[in-house]
């Protein structure tokens, strides 16, 4: 697999400008003739489709939802980072770049991260102009809050619904283009395959989720904006329909899959309550601005929290990481919570929880201030748990939240399959081995609004792309193989539900490839996943028909992909003999239990290449070169 990152030459801070100045442009007449297929309409997809439609391309946008406004970006709570330095607290593009790169434990591409920080300011401008109602100070200027891993206040937010407001902004831009006829919108259509002609992505196959019909669409380029794969663990904070299938089918058509083992476990989620649990709910990291995390000092202390005097509490994040305190990065905070619970000091049923206590802030600021800042989150917690966080500390525990791994892309966001571009969480590029809070929204919108509109033109202008139609045999082949896959699932007619397999798979991965991983656990996981996959194909029961609205069938196809993906994820974790960010190999830790990188042997992205059915995937490597920053042991102490 050829992995040319195509990083522009020149000093770091000039690379993006040089790239922009150097790209070939497409004439207005030729833009109209070029069809761009956009799959997924979350922050990355909606912003890309709207911007490309505006530029004059013929854009077809696809979502499996009933509306583009439902994408999972909508659930992001806390905020979006930008290097505006409106607080005059010393922020700059360089600082945002450096903290993002450091937060990712130096496993991201320097040039991409710098570009992200550079365009972050444009994003805020764009969103405000669209009418995104960001929080404001009394003087009418934009307000900021702090987030984990940063010592400046650079996060913009709209109550606890920042993702919703940003998505509705991008959705409105998309809707405007749909209304104007510059984007054609396809709702309730799920991508099931990428069509490759002469080595380039030239179209897709989609399944109409209402009629079950398989349709084909041809174009000059395909953009996957299809999110992450956290749901491979079954229980995660992701929406139920989030899946890896679009990315996985693209992988099987030649796109490399990078760093699948980089998964983010978010420290502040509501703990699991029972085995019927269908998903986990995040409590925004922003709560750590005003909430103090603690457990009892004594193991097995079952007293109710108000009965435990301050002297018998361990505010462990403040103790271990005094300079960042409760705002230590996510991977570090999550592992610390796990350690406390492993020591028997966890709280709540089953002992898998720690307190997030707003009590001191309520005393200091008053209940009304806390309510204004976090009211909707507190209400959500109360609805789910039946407990009142204004009087009883919340209980939280880490949960799978985000995946830094994804399809490999070059500097222009093109995958190793020419013509296939990957944006947002679906790609691997910007967060290394750990993503800092409020950076996902930034990346999705950076890719969609500001990167792809520039880079796609260069591909269209410089590639020989003879017009293709869906009559080509490659389209027929892809449609037929998709139909065969559906029939294969329906034909098993076994005894167990899709969900029961998904839950079992999730449990294997959470136990063996979750917050702590070892050679032994990963080897076991691979064997268990393979065995369960065989059982799935022998005993799954998919009710209903192919030619119908059939949610069991939708789930079954996604779970089938998770079985393959989960194995590659474990192999990636097994072969990365170091700890970095969210990937914690217990064999590789410092004396005080922090992640210990091995820069000599693993300062690279591992890119997995599909080798054919039944064959083991091939591991390729893109070395990471750091021209400006000095690789350091991360310290938040």
């Amino acid at each position: 697999m050829k992995l040319d990152s195509r990083i522009p030459s020149g000093p770091l801070e000039e690379k993006w400008t040089r790239r922009k100045n150097g790209v070939s442009l497409v004439s207005p007449a030729n833009k109209k003739k070029s069809t761009i297929i956009v799959v997924g309409t979350g922050l990355a997809g909606a912003s890309a489709a709207a911007s490309l439609g505006e530029l004059g391309y013929t854009v077809k946008a696809f979502t499996y939802h009933d509306s583009a406004r439902r994408a999972h970006s909508i659930a992001a709570q806390g905020g979006i980072n930008a290097a505006k330095n409106y607080q005059n607290d010393g922020d700059s593009v360089y600082r945002l770049f450096y903290e993002t790169l450091k937060g990712g434990d130096f496993r991201a591409r320097e040039s991409n991260v710098y570009r992200l920080a550079e365009v972050s300011n444009n994003i805020i401008d764009q969103c405000v102009a669209q009418g995104v109602p960001f929080a404001r100070d009394y003087d009418g200027h934009l307000a900021n809050r702090s987030f984990g891993g940063a010592q400046v206040s650079r996060t913009f937010y709209a109550r606890g619904q920042t993702g919703q407001q940003l998505l509705l902004g991008a959705y409105s831009a998309l809707a405007k283009n749909v209304g104007a006829g510059t984007v054609q919108m396809f709702n309730r259509k799920e991508m099931v395959d990428v069509v490759v002609i002469d080595g380039r992505a030239r179209g897709i196959v989609v399944r109409d989720l209402v009629t079950g019909e398989l349709e084909t669409h041809a174009g000059e380029a395909v953009l996957l904006c299809t999110g992450g794969y956290s749901n491979v663990f079954y229980l995660s904070t992701n929406a139920k329909n989030c899946n890896v299938s679009a990315n996985w089918r693209a992988y099987k058509r030649g796109a490399g899959f990078a760093n699948p083992c980089y998964t983010q476990i978010h420290p502040t989620c509501i703990p699991v309550a029972g085995d019927y649990q269908s998903k986990l709910t995040l409590m925004s990291e922003s709560l750590r601005n005003d909430g103090r995390v603690w457990v009892p000092i004594r193991a097995g202390d079952n007293r109710s929290p108000d009965q435990i005097p301050v002297a018998e509490r361990d505010y462990y994040l403040e103790r271990i990481y005094p300079s960042y305190g409760n705002l230590a990065p996510r991977d570090i905070s999550s592992r610390a919570a796990k350690r406390m619970c492993d020591e028997g000091r966890g709280v709540g049923p089953g002992g898998r929880g720690v307190f997030l206590d707003l009590g001191d802030s309520i005393k200091r600021l008053g209940k009304n201030v806390i309510e204004e800042r976090y009211g909707n989150l507190i209400e959500m917690y109360e609805r789910i748990t039946g407990e009142d966080p204004y009087s009883v500390p919340m209980r939280i525990y880490p949960a799978v939240h985000y995946t830094m791994g994804g399809l490999w892309v070059d500097y222009d966001l093109m995958s190793s399959l020419p013509g296939l571009f990957v944006l947002g969480e679906a790609n691997f590029s910007d967060h290394g081995a750990n993503r800092l809070g409020a950076s996902a929204l930034m990346q999705g919108l950076a890719d969609g609004y500001f990167v792809i509109p520039t880079t796609i033109g260069d591909y269209i202008a410089n590639s020989k792309l003879p017009k293709v139609t869906v009559d080509r045999p490659e389209f027929t082949e892809a449609r037929q193989s998709s139909a065969a896959f559906v029939q294969k699932l329906l034909a098993v007619k076994g005894h167990r539900s899709v969900d029961s397999f998904h839950k079992a798979l999730g449990l294997i991965l959470w136990e063996h490839c979750g917050m702590g991983r070892t050679k032994e656990s990963l080897t076991t996981a691979i064997q268990k996943v393979r065995a369960l996959r065989d059982e799935f194909w022998a005993d799954v029961r998919v009710t209903g028909d192919a030619a119908d609205l059939n949610q069991e069938l939708e789930k079954a196809a996604r779970v089938a992909d998770y079985f393959e993906m989960g194995e590659v994820m474990c192999r990636d974790a097994l072969l990365r003999e170091e700890s970095c960010g969210g990937h914690f190999r217990e064999e590789h830790q410092t004396e005080d239990g922090e992640a210990k990188r091995d820069d000599e042997n693993f300062c690279h992205a591992a890119v997995w290449e599909y080798a054919g059915p039944g064959k083991e995937a091939i591991r390729n490597v893109e070395p990471l070169a750091f021209e400006v920053v000095h690789l350091a042991q991360r310290s938040y102490k």
Partner: protein, 258 residues
């Protein structure tokens, strides 16, 4: 707890639907309403029957996918709560629960509890936006917005587009949905240039999609999971009437100023 469920089953838009009876023997009070349906569906699948189809995604009350009428109330008995956030602790042992889709002329049923809310998208497409080209925005702090206006706009912007307002309205009106968007954009300085044109276009499109008029029943406000108030409808009507008298009667930019 033990529950008796009457659930609306309908294979497709063209098929006739009806209530079907199910019983669940062991429901935990900590389950969400949708998790209770998951448990029922697990039982159905194992028996080889088709599960009850319902739309859902984030299960955090923000995506707007879920919703059903539970015992006559859209999203069920707890106010300010989507169906996914409704927990079974609000029900009792031996309760009988009737579950049916959001019904409205403009929301055709696709299957079981799933309806087609595409009309909402089409309303937004005619004006539910502030037109700004990517990359052409001025510095964000160049536009100041009073905290009061910003907070009011945010109150309206919280709408999740679930359609409960329509399902609850005897007229099948989408006025709360439409007015929430008009308020959100119309309260901000950025939204002023298109304000009247937007009101006219969105309200007329809602009418064309088959939604009814508002006659102040106030049911929408009572069931809205985001507690969006009907004062937004008053503001929208005000803009609509102003626009009707003043401008934008025609299309294609040939506005006659009266």
């Amino acid at each position: 707890m033990k529950l008796t469920l009457h659930i609306w089953r309908q294979k497709a838009r063209s098929n006739k639907g009806g209530f079907q009876l199910y019983t669940l023997a062991d429901v935990s009070e900590h389950m969400s309403f949708l998790e209770m349906l998951d448990v029922l569906n697990e039982e159905l699948v194992v028996k080889g029957e088709e599960p009850v189809h319902f739309e859902h995604d984030c299960r955090e009350g923000i995506c707007g996918c879920c919703g059903a009428v539970v015992n006559g109330e859209p999203h069920g008995p707890k106010s300010g709560t989507t169906l996914c956030q409704l927990h079974m602790r609000h029900f009792h042992d031996n309760d009988e629960i009737w579950i049916e889709p959001f019904r409205s002329k403009a929301f055709p049923i696709l299957k079981d509890l799933i309806v087609d809310r595409g009309a909402f998208d089409r309303i937004i497409q005619v004006g539910g936006f502030i037109a700004v080209r990517t990359g052409s925005a001025p510095d964000a702090n160049g536009i100041t917005v009073s905290k009061e206006s910003s907070d009011l706009a945010m109150d309206a912007a919280e709408c999740i587009g679930c359609g409960a307002c329509v399902a609850s309205c005897p007229n099948g009106s989408a006025s709360l949905f439409v007015s929430a968007k008009l308020s959100h954009l119309g309260l901000l300085p950025q939204g002023q240039p298109e304000r009247l044109k937007r009101a006219l276009a969105m309200i007329r499109t809602a009418e064309a999609e088959g939604f009814g008029y508002c006659s102040n029943y106030g049911e929408c406000e009572a069931v809205c999971p985001k507690r969006i108030g009907i004062h937004h409808i008053a503001r929208a009507n005000c803009d609509f009437h102003k626009a009707s008298f003043m401008v934008y009667q025609g299309t294609g930019g040939k506005a006659a100023v009266g």
